[in-house]
Symmetry: C2
Subunit: 237 residues, 2 copies
């Protein structure tokens, strides 16, 4: 209640009258990065831009539009990222990792991508994956399903990362103690009923989300090659 009075005298908004859709979206991204999805309210946005609601709704349809466009803005940089690798496998890993890192830097896009998985930006993503699968000689009929599988996996990880970020933002505990808590909690599970999870608890300490994500990508890549190999009957063992 008292925080807005202080800022109006402290640093006057230089922007004289130039409100634009681009400025609104960039400001929304700043708020989202700073305080998470919960922090982006129309009220916070009007204060930050020192304007009224109508001004925002004049450039943006509604909050959904705002969230979607902000996500597009972040993702675009990833999809149109570095050029083609020599090895399609390496390119696929790089592409997936680019999205992973983007979600890691802006966890809120994980939620948004899961909410609207048919956005045009993801079409670009599909397209690039499809081409790389083509380069890997995945037959045309299987390409669509294979690309979808990989996208679903990436989006699943993205949503989980967003959930973890949300959880960590809620409590004051940092990442290390959070993992430690989970580990002790898992270790306390009945070993008879949860032998696997119980055994995994010890690994949780040195757990690396990014590395695990890459392992998953490699599993799918290996599976896709196997799938493609099946078309011509060829026994391997």
């Amino acid at each position: 209640m008292e925080k807005k009075a202080a800022k109006s005298s402290a640093r006057a908004p230089r922007r004289t009258r130039g409100l634009s859709r681009e400025l609104i979206i960039q400001t929304a991204i700043e708020i989202l990065d700073g305080g998470g999805e919960k922090a982006l309210t129309l009220r916070a946005l009007t204060e930050r831009l020192s304007t009224g609601y109508g001004a925002i709704y004049h450039h943006v349809a509604d909050k959904g539009d705002l969230l979607a466009t902000a996500t597009d803005s972040v993702i675009t940089g990833v999809v149109s990222g570095p050029g083609a690798d020599a090895d399609p496998r390496a390119a696929l890993r790089r592409l997936a990792l680019g999205l992973f890192d983007a979600v890691d830097a802006h966890p809120w896009i994980g939620t948004e991508l899961s909410r609207q998985p048919w956005r045009p930006v993801l079409l670009d993503f599909y397209e690039r994956i499809g081409r790389l699968l083509e380069a890997l000689d995945v037959p045309q009929e299987a390409r669509f399903d294979a690309a979808g599988t990989l996208v679903n996996y990436v989006l699943g990880v993205a949503a989980q990362n967003a959930a973890h970020a949300r959880l960590r933002a809620g409590s004051t505990t940092d990442r290390e103690t959070f993992l430690a808590n989970a580990a002790t909690q898992w270790a306390q599970l009945a070993p008879r009923r949860y032998p696997i999870v119980h055994a995994a608890a010890s690994q949780l300490g040195e757990h690396d989300d990014r590395a695990q994500f890459l392992v998953g990508v490699d599993i799918f890549l290996a599976g896709i090659s196997a799938l493609h190999r099946q078309t011509s009957p060829e026994v391997l063992e």
Copy 2:
């Protein structure tokens, strides 16, 4: 708006005074199944149960607790589903498919599972997957990552299904016309820029979510065998 007046006279609530946590959660599930996540408001719940807010908050911590417990209630039936198959692969497919079908029947759990992927019910899920991977001779070190990969994939699909259901609930168009619209939209994309997606448009008509999901599971299973077969990882970067 007019539907609540009819029912109060049609069938009087037999429950004289027996409000319980279980009844609240089951009623919440009914509302969620009937009208989606948007339909579950505390107000709707009090009306349906013909009670006050305090009564509900006496049995349930908050709305998050309600949503989480409702999801648990639905998932529990899936995880403790049919017994062990002879073939671990078949068992894994069955387990994954069980979750897929549960999300298909109750799309709102897809959102909730993505929001809270560390729920105890998912630990049971992890445990069963881990044991089946063990049966498939996946080495102990790789088991944790492999199980995580599969869960992430399944959750990714779950979130997407929930998103699609939400989209379909919003508009009046049914599934067929929705797919047809998407197909024509994809077909209109510039073939030069989107050759893969453009080509995939024709396949969209006969698209089967459930079948595609299973293809993904099979890709994963094939990848697991390949992973397990190669003891030394390949060099990259």
